[in-house]
Amino acid sequence: MWLVTLGFLPQLIAFYLPYTRRLLSDELASLSLVCSQLMLLIFTFANLRLPGMPILLLGLVCNLGVILANGGFMPLTVDAAARLVDQTALNNLAVGERVSNASKDILLPETGILLPWLADRFVSPPFLSYRFAFSLGDVLVAAGTFWLLLIGQLRTIQSTESGDT
């Protein structure tokens, strides 16, 4: 628990808290993201025996790999951004720069991305009111978490039933 809290803290400061994220430069925010993900990687590795953790670890490695390969931020393809926001909003974004100070993403053209298949290139379907771009690593993280919760729940049910009999 403490390792996850310690690991999440740099991201909380750099991306989630409005007051602190304004104070950090892009370099510090990037450093926070990489350090945070490294600590979460250690936590995931230490808990590898839990169901779903190997999938979650793979997702984390994918995300961290593409982040490290592209200068410390998650690359967001211009194509994915164009599918998320209108042209006016897109025109206000600069290619090669962070999408906003609340974001872990940097806007890059497909050709300028290293490991492009691991970037934020997929977009949630238009019929969903909550729109977001996500990566293959995010899918693996979600799948690992789902598996962890599902197996955990099944084990609880099994132990309850065996306790009843």
Partner: protein, 47 residues
């Protein structure tokens, strides 16, 4: 008012170790998922 306070006291008394462990586990998982994943919310673009 006294009834409401009693109700809350009773509710908190029902919280045991297992509840706390589940809550902490969920909190850990939320932090892990938020930290490990990097989906880009449309609301943060250009903000």
């Amino acid at each position: 008012m006294k009834k409401t306070i009693n109700h809350f006291t009773l509710s908190f008394a029902k919280i045991n170790n297992t509840h706390l462990q589940v809550a902490l586990m969920l909190l850990t998982l939320v932090m892990l998922v938020l930290g490990a994943g990097a989906p880009e919310d449309v609301g943060t673009i250009g903000r």
